[in-house]
Amino acid sequence: MSRTTKSWDEINQKLKEGKAVVITAEEAAQMASEEKPANFVQKVDVVTTGTFGAMCSSGMFINFGHPEPPIRMEHITIEGVPVFGGIAAVDAYIGATEVHPEDPRFGGAHIIQKLIEGEELLLKAHAKGTDCYPRKDIETYIHRDRVNEMILTNPRNAYQNYPAATNSSHRTLYTYMGTLLPSFLNINYSTSGCLSPLLNDPELRTIGIGSPVFLGGAVGSVAWNGTQFNTEKPTNERGIPLSNARTLMLVGNAKEMSSQWIRAAYYEKYGVTLYVGVGFAIPVLDEDLAYRVMVRNEDIQTTICDYAVDGHPPLGNISYAELMSGTVEFRGKKVRTAPLSSYRRARELAETLKSMVLSGAFPLIPPARPLPQRSTVQGLAIIRNRRTSR
C-alpha cells in the first residue's frame, strides 16, 4: 500500500472546493482508538488546536499619532500605568505585566483589554522638548479608532507544555501557577492537553516564521521563535517534551481582536497578566502528522515541580489525562488538580478556528522559514567583574 501524502496546495484546493475535512484536535484524539494514522491522513485534512491561558510575556505596540505641536514622548502613562516610551516619538509598548504604582491589581493587561473594547483612556506624556519636537507635556484621551496602530506583540506565547505546580511547604504560596496550598494539598497545571497547539506538532513541521495564527480573535502571524525557545528538553516516546520547551513570538492587529480572547487577569500576590487565545490549524500532510495530531491526553506527560523550593525541583511526571480528571494519586494520597487555562474556551477556540478554516477566513500557508532546530536556554550568571575579551 502506498503511503498517502498531501501538499499544502492540495489541501487548499480541497478547502476551496468545499471537500476538505476539518476537525478539532480533541476530535482527532477521540479517533485515535479506532483509526490508524494511515487511515486518518486519508480521512482528515486539517486539525485545529487552541488554548486560552495566562501568557505573561505579552504586550502591545501602539502609535498614538502626532499632536500639533509635536512631542517626543518620554515618560508615558495610560490611566496611570507606565508604558515604555523609549522608541521614537509617539510609539509606545504596553507591557502586559506592568502595574499601576498605586494599584498592583491593575496594569498593562487591563489597558490592552480596555483599548480593544473601545474604551476612552487617559494618556499622559512628558518630554524634555527639542527643536524638532517642542511640546513638553500632553494630556489627552485615546481610543482604538483614533490611534494609528495597535499591534499585539508577544515575545513568548503558546509554551509547548508547562510543568504542573505543587507546594511541599507549610504555608500557602501565591504564584503565577495560582494558589498552591500547603503540604501538597493541590496541583495546578496550565496546558490545554490534547488541544494545545504545539503539542499537536511537537517538532514544528507546519509552524514557522510567517505561519498564520489565531491570536486574540484575529489572524496574526508567527514573527519568530519565542524567547526561552528550547528544543533540548527530554521527550516521551512520542517525541513530546516532558516540560516547557518551544515558544512562539506572535504578532497581530489588536484592533481586530476581541476581549473574548484577550483578557486581563490578576494572580494574588504575583501580579497582572494577560489571558491570550491562541490556535493553529495543522494540515495533515502525511502519516507522521496524522500520528502527531491524534495525540490523546494520556499520551502527553508533564513534570510536577515543587514551587516551595528554589529552582522548583521536579517531583515526577504525570499525564494530562490524570491531571484533567480532577484528582490524582500523589505521594500516597489523593490530591486535587486544577487547570489555570480554560479547557472550555480552548475547545470553543478550536471550533471557531474550524469554521474560519472552512470559510477561508483563516489561511493555510506553509512557513516562510523554519524555527530553530536546536536551541537551549541558559540562566543568568552573577558576574562580579566585567569579563575581558580575549
Binding site: 495560582g178 494558589t179 486535587r336 474556551r345 475547545r347
Partner: protein, 139 residues
C-alpha cells in the same frame, strides 16, 4: 436540615456559653467549622446548625440577636460573577467544601452557594476576580 452561619460576637457576649445554650435550650446540632476570635476584641464563628423543625432555628436566631450576637447566612455571602468567568477552574482546586466544581464533561464551572463555608480561597485563586465574599477578605 442544616444551614451555615457566620456568628459575630461582640466583646461583651464572647464570655457567654452560647453554643451550650443553643444545644440545650434550642435543640440545635452545632458544628463549628471555623473560629476566629481576636484577643479582647470581636470574634467570628463559622457554624453549621442542624435542626429537625425550622421553627426551632428561627427561635434560636432570634435569641442570638437578642443577646447581641449577629448572624449571617453563609450561602448568601459568596458572589460569583458568571459573566466575567472564563471557566478556567483555578478556583475548583482550592474549594474543599464542594461549593465550586469544574464539570469535566462540558468544562463549565458549577457553583453551589449553599455548600460554601466562606473560606475565601476562591476569592484569591480566581485570576479574573469573579468571586467576592461580602464581609471582605477572610484570612
Amino acid at each position: 436540615m442544616t444551614s451555615k452561619y457566620v456568628l459575630g460576637y461582640s466583646a461583651e457576649t464572647v464570655s457567654e456559653p452560647i453554643l451550650w445554650r443553643l444545644v440545650k435550650d434550642f435543640d440545635i446540632r452545632v458544628n463549628i467549622l471555623r473560629a476566629e476570635i481576636s484577643p479582647g476584641q470581636e470574634g467570628n464563628l463559622l457554624v453549621e446548625f442542624g435542626v429537625e423543625e425550622e421553627e426551632k432555628l428561627s427561635r434560636a436566631l432570634s435569641w442570638l440577636e437578642s443577646i447581641g450576637v449577629s448572624w449571617v447566612s453563609v450561602s448568601k455571602r459568596l458572589f460569583w460573577d458568571e459573566d466575567r468567568c472564563i471557566d478556567c477552574g483555578s478556583c475548583s482546586g482550592v474549594c474543599f467544601s464542594g461549593a465550586i466544581v469544574l464539570d469535566r464533561t462540558d468544562w463549565k464551572l458549577q457553583v453551589n452557594r449553599d455548600l460554601c463555608v466562606a473560606c475565601g480561597n476562591c476569592v484569591k485563586a480566581c485570576p479574573m476576580g469573579c468571586f467576592t465574599l461580602d464581609f471582605g477578605e477572610v484570612s
